[in-house]
């Protein structure tokens, strides 16, 4: 990873120095090895804090909505999955292609500190990557994990290692898509009874604190004003007051991003309560694929989405349950 990081810094430097871009969006060092944070670099000096490692899971594309409004071109480092999101933002005119310089970067799957902690490690002081082996040092000792064990949830089912948009690339090694089928967990839920599914989601969603992290991180949730923040919408609410609201928020959010969600997995990554929110969006993706033909949001920067198009031969709403009864 370090070699990539160095190349990235080198490119960022060159782009800033030549004046080709006015700023570079990337990550900067946090307090630890495992908590880098998204950052905008405007000078070569600022690049001293630049970092790219296995904990740079954040999808940076949404920052462009705001950042790229400033004068000059904005360069951004995108992992393959993030590039889908940016394309979708292009499609929705939220970001203008001409203002962006995309540097496609290598990603071998990102890691999750939360997972390490759930596996019993605490007071982590250092993480060392040794290929597939992850060595975690803490005040209580040293623990070794395999990369797969502590892979970020969204990376387990990585849908593609192909960048959908790029101006140049920094890729030194071959990348592999996820080992797990994207729809496996959705299918498990589908196989349950209505009652069981209801219980599953009740348990999960009752944890929701309505912090809006899922919404605010979501590149598809880019509304100027969200319906849930708008008293005129009739469904505005802050903290959940009732079980219904926990569901309403997540149902409406999933519907609003249906056909636009690229399945970048940020919602689940950021949820402080560990709710598998991506399973909501993936249901829509799976249904769309099955009912209206395979569709991957963000694959192109043009065209209509499945919910803004139709086919005269589309099935009836009642048809969606037909397979089940057989």
């Amino acid at each position: 990873m370090r070699d990539i990081e160095l190349k990235m810094i080198e490119r960022a430097k060159a782009l800033l120095e030549s004046g080709e871009v006015a700023r570079v969006v990337g990550w900067k060092k946090g307090e630890f090895y495992f908590d880098p944070m998204p950052a905008v670099f405007e000078t070569v000096e600022e690049l001293n804090d630049f970092v790219y490692n296995s904990f740079c899971g954040a999808n940076l594309s949404k920052y462009l909505i705001k950042v790229s409004k400033n004068p000059g071109k904005t360069a951004i480092f995108l992992k393959p999955c993030d590039s889908f999101s940016l394309n979708q933002l292009f499609k929705e005119h939220r970001v203008i292609r001409e203002n962006i310089y995309v540097i496609a970067i290598e990603c071998q799957g990102k890691l999750s500190v939360e997972k390490m902690k759930k596996l019993g490690v605490s007071a982590i002081t250092e993480v060392n990557e040794n290929g597939e082996e992850i060595v975690v040092s803490s005040l209580y000792g040293e623990t070794k994990f395999s990369r797969d064990e502590v892979l970020l949830g969204k990376c387990e089912t990585c849908k593609s290692k192909v960048h959908q948009v790029k101006d140049e690339e920094i890729i030194l090694r071959e990348m592999q898509a996820g080992k797990k089928d994207r729809f496996e967990d959705v299918e498990k839920l589908e196989a349950m009874s209505e009652e069981e599914r209801f219980t599953f989601w009740r348990e999960q969603l009752s944890k929701c604190i309505r912090c809006n992290a899922c919404r605010n991180v979501c590149p598809a949730c880019s509304c100027m004003k969200c319906v849930f923040d708008n008293p005129a919408s009739g469904i505005a609410a802050k903290a959940n007051d009732d079980k219904f609201e926990e569901q309403l928020f997540h149902i409406i959010r999933a519907f609003h991003v249906a056909g636009r969600c690229t399945d970048c997995g940020e919602c689940s990554r950021v949820c402080p309560q560990g709710i598998p929110l991506h399973l909501l969006n993936r249901k829509f993706i799976k249904d769309i694929d099955g009912l209206y033909g395979e569709y991957q949001a963000g694959e192109t920067a043009e065209g209509k989405t499945p919910l803004t198009s139709y086919n005269e031969e589309d099935g009836e709403p009642s048809d969606v349950f037909k397979g089940e009864e057989k």
């Binding site: 946090g30 307090e31 630890f32 908590d35 880098p36 944070m37 998204p38 950052a39 905008v40 954040a58 920052y63 902690k117 759930k118 605490s122 007071a123 982590i124 002081t125 803490s138 005040l139 209580y140 348990e203 999960q204 009752s206 944890k207 604190i209 309505r210 912090c211 809006n212 992290a213 919404r215 605010n216 991180v217 923040d229 609410a237 802050k238 903290a239 959940n240 007051d241 940020e266 990554r269 950021v270 402080p272 309560q273 560990g274 709710i275």
Partner: protein, 342 residues
């Protein structure tokens, strides 16, 4: 010092639950939060940090305040407060206990928040000492000793026993209630654990944060600090930090239409939200930087300046763990706090 064998704990919870409510860390769908205890729930005292702090025991995320009942054109105001049944808040860590002190200064100061007060008075708090602090912990910076928290009673946990000691009358009463489960002993074990934990606490990466510049006299200088822009640039404006924070106390008041009237309720609000402090003329804070600054200025400057230097951060580290983009108060303290940080 008294002790309770770990295997008896479930029976002990049941006993408490007979006469009082019991609020305790419970694991649900993989995460641990405080919940009302019920037979069959998976209690998890070992968990260092619940996702939400126990503050929602006194200051729930939503709470009905009154109801307007309508019938035709007639309107009636209904008081919806019910008498608070006594309950026990079990397993509160030192930082979270300190946070209750921070909240008390807001809600119990004049004018008293009677909703909060009723709950607060009905509660017996049993704290639990930490034995395995983690890298994000920095309660020591605020003078909190994680190994011997206060409360109506204090407890310590090891592999075999829960050790407990009453600090107040309420605590004594609780111990009297559960006396069938307790036996003498444990002074040595507790002491050993405390010493061991203290050693770890010293080594924690954030143990030496310097707060020296967060003083009322530096208010203007801190407010105008150019670093806020950079500190807040990745902020998503979500409310995670405020909702997991044990000391955040802001709420909004809203109405909900029912079949026969309107319920007026309050719910947690977050200064990170764009409609926070929205007024008829607009909002005094229009950028995320301003909102971000507000949160930390309040925790580290405004609140202490009104409360004898008491910071409204207790170093629990929840925001450090939970911020989606890894922004947090530690970065703010390091950037603006004082020379020692450099």
């Amino acid at each position: 010092m008294l002790r309770i064998a770990k295997e008896k704990l479930n029976a002990l919870y049941a006993k408490i639950n007979e006469s009082m409510g019991l609020f305790i860390p419970v694991k649900r769908a993989g995460e641990v939060n405080y919940e009302i205890w019920k037979e069959g729930k998976e209690v998890s005292l070992e968990t260092l940090k619940t996702v939400k702090s126990p503050k929602n025991m006194f200051f729930p995320s939503t709470e009905n305040m009154m109801k307007f009942k309508t019938e035709g054109k007639a309107l009636e105001i209904v008081d919806v407060r019910d008498e608070k049944k006594p309950f026990v808040l079990f397993g509160v860590k030192a930082c979270d206990y300190k946070a209750i002190e921070v909240l008390d200064k807001v809600f119990l100061a004049d004018p008293v928040d009677t909703f909060y007060q009723a709950r607060r008075e009905a509660t017996t708090i049993v704290t639990l000492a930490c034995s395995r602090p983690e890298e994000s912990c920095f309660c020591g910076v605020f003078g909190i000793d994680a190994t011997s928290p206060l409360g109506d009673a204090t407890s310590w946990l090891d592999e075999s026993y829960l050790y407990v000691q009453a600090n107040t009358e309420k605590g004594e009463a609780l111990i009297a209630l559960i006396k069938e489960f307790v036996e003498e002993g444990g002074d040595a074990e507790v002491k050993a654990q405390q010493e061991k934990t203290t050693e770890i606490l010293k080594k924690l990466p954030f143990a030496q944060l310097d707060l020296s510049r967060f003083k009322p006299e530096n208010l203007n200088e801190l407010f105008e600090a150019p670093q806020w822009e950079e500190l807040s640039e990745a902020c998503l404006g979500c409310g995670t930090c405020t909702f997991v924070c044990p000391t955040c106390q802001c709420f909004d008041i809203r109405d909900f239409k029912t079949h026969d009237g309107v319920i007026r309720y309050r719910c947690w609000d977050s200064c990170m939200y764009s409609d926070f402090t929205l007024m008829a003329h607009g909002n005094s804070r229009t950028t995320q930087m301003q909102r971000f600054r507000q949160r930390f200025m309040h925790k580290l400057v405004y609140y202490p300046s009104q409360n004898d230097g008491l910071y409204s951060c207790v170093g629990c580290g929840r925001c450090v763990n939970k911020c989606p983009q890894n922004l947090n108060i530690v970065k703010v303290i390091k950037t603006l706090g004082g020379k020692k940080n450099d």
